[in-house]
Symmetry: C2
Subunit: 384 residues, 2 copies
């Protein structure tokens, strides 16, 4: 095993290790794109940079946690074919490419200008069009290019998860010293479900938005698929199945994944309204301005309607438009006064407790149990 295949011993090493797998993958694949044409290489480079400057590697970390849980299970079954730690890490890293597609395409759908303080991919391509003085509509060209960049990320996700390198890649590029094992069918089934679920969750989200569906149930349904399954439950399951975890452990991890995934999103909803822009990197009251139908806002509208319909009208008037500081403060006060904030905090506490209880009872190693409980604490109490 070469140094590029260093396998993380603890969860804190996963982001760096997954980043290394992705770098090696890009070293093999970007030149294939460049060989088509230099501008295609630039587009592939945009995708690679997007992934490299990516966030906290939450999904790879949960997937690797699932792997360590499975490995530590006393009832582990053999997988066919057997999967190495390098195989597990590769699958974890591939999740970041699915996420790159989801974000690049989401930014088109949401008309977002920036992501993580940088221009979104469609805006970057649009700028390039302007700088070059090309013909036609620059914004249109940006969208077209970003649709294709997102597609490339999704195709690459599948290449990486299966350990496939495009024919024609530079033979001198870094490759694993041991050939990757094919994915066991039960892992492929989870990978398949996860991608259909996140796309389905996103589709449901855009339909709920235009159909004016403000119910708390709908907000939860989107969370269930767009976040909980995709960000926590399926990654945990993916890793656990790579390690041949028994069905009872899979069920426990899916339950933990559901609890933490919903708690993660509910915390996000609170930060989207109450978060400190200095910490979140997003404008103050961002979700209000964007008019997002989060569970917090859905609950706020429901509670306001129950108490006094004029309150609901007032809150609705503070959604989906630019707001000054006073207006953000008013919306915050409304959501707090009707009890929506307390209830969301209460739910987060309940979900956190449920996840910790499941983790405490599960037959997994003490180290990974402690690491997962620490992650549960972090994602439910985070401020950014």
């Amino acid at each position: 095993m070469t140094s590029t295949e260093h396998v993380p011993a603890s969860l804190s090493e996963v982001p760096t290790a997954a980043g290394r797998v992705l770098d090696d993958f890009f070293a093999r694949t970007v030149p294939v794109a460049t060989a088509i044409a230099p501008v295609v290489g630039d587009a592939a480079g945009l995708v690679a940079d997007f992934v490299r400057t990516g966030g906290k590697r939450v999904r790879p970390t949960f997937a690797y946690a699932g792997w360590l849980c499975g490995l530590s299970s006393p009832h582990r079954r053999p997988t066919v074919p057997d999967q190495s730690p390098a195989d597990a890490l590769r699958v974890c890293a591939a999740l970041e490419l699915v996420q790159a597609c989801a974000l690049i395409h989401d930014d088109i759908i949401d008309h977002s200008d920036t992501r993580r303080g940088r221009p979104t991919v469609h805006r970057a391509i649009e700028r390039h069009h302007r700088r070059e003085g090309w013909s036609g509509d620059a914004a249109d060209h940006g969208i077209a290019g970003a649709v294709l960049c997102g597609d490339l990320a999704l195709a690459w996700a599948d290449d990486l998860v299966h350990g496939h390198t495009p024919a024609g890649a530079d033979p001198a590029a870094p490759t694993p010293t041991t050939p990757p094992s094919p994915l066991p069918a039960e892992v492929g089934a989870v990978w398949a479900a996860m991608r259909t679920e996140v796309l389905g969750g996103q589709f449901l989200d855009i339909v709920n938005e235009v159909s004016g569906d403000e119910t708390v149930e709908s907000a939860y349904r989107v969370m269930e698929f767009k976040t909980a399954a995709y960000t926590v439950a399926r990654p945990l399951e993916l890793g656990a199945r790579m390690a041949g975890a028994p069905d009872t452990l899979i069920a426990e991890l899916r339950s933990v994944g559901h609890d933490l995934g919903i708690a993660f999103q509910l915390r996000d909803d609170l930060l989207g309204v109450f978060g400190d822009p200095e910490r979140t990197g997003k404008p103050s009251g961002d979700d209000l301005v964007e008019g997002k139908r989060t569970a917090l806002i859905a609950l706020g509208l429901q509670r306001a309607t129950d108490r006094d319909p004029t309150l609901a009208t007032a809150l609705r008037g503070l959604l989906g438009r630019a707001l000054d500081d006073d207006e953000v403060a008013r919306a915050r006060a409304l959501l707090t006064d009707v009890g929506a904030v307390d209830e969301i905090e209460h739910r987060i506490t309940g979900l956190h407790a449920s996840a910790v209880a499941t983790l405490t009872a599960a037959q997994i190693g003490a180290g990974i149990r402690a690491d997962l409980i620490a992650m549960a604490d972090r994602i439910t109490h985070r401020e950014s």
Copy 2:
């Protein structure tokens, strides 16, 4: 093997057999989407319908031709793991899902309203938005929905090529009686290259269009990746590698694929200007109106410039705008008079002859040789 796994004995049976594989796949996957929410099931159904009403199954047919070539080779090597005819057919069928993504996203990029006489996916979703009286911009919602539908098709392509069924699929849905074999690494490498190439070719195409690149070389480069590799050469190689074809045969099939792929596209270019709308299903002079930078038009502009720059200006004035019948006739006469049409016909003839010569010399069975030569005749002489 159940009746749903009938394996084609000749190329003419491939479209129906591949269609059956796709139907079984949709029977397993669409319910997974419906379980997320009925509207998600509707979106998945749109993708399934798009594929079901799809064209001539050119790519599956070429891939299956590659498989039959490989099977008939006296120097066939074993693949690891061994691939069954059902595995080969599954890989062939998966190509239609890649194509569905390419077309759904291409139609967004090209602002196309119809495809095969039906509304494009983004227009269908836009109409649904209007019919339901939803809020926000209907066209925008159509694009958002179609981006996600294309993504789903691409994700499904990978699920199908690997024979993975999403976890949670109805256990009563039709499944293969023999579990699918994992793809050999060398097949995965071709699959990986093919997807990067088609996306790269599309990216190059949109850049050439806005950068005003009118050279014949650029038109050929786009053809090489967007059509020849993707439509013929890689599918042939994919099938041949599934059957363990030797390297010499792979090289011959790639050469045949290049020749026929370019000839196919050049014929398409001629039909795009001279085709009979009754037969092609496209408006008269469609490529002129669309302002496409095809090899025919690039060559016409180059020849016109060489002969008399005012001719080139006249031709350029007939590109990228609505044209009446007289104008279409004038553009046709111009392209013919400068010799562009003759040269493209000449190139098609040469490519066809080269492909037939390679097929004649290749060590493959007499049946598949005759079938491939018949296909070569058909695609280079077709009128629709």
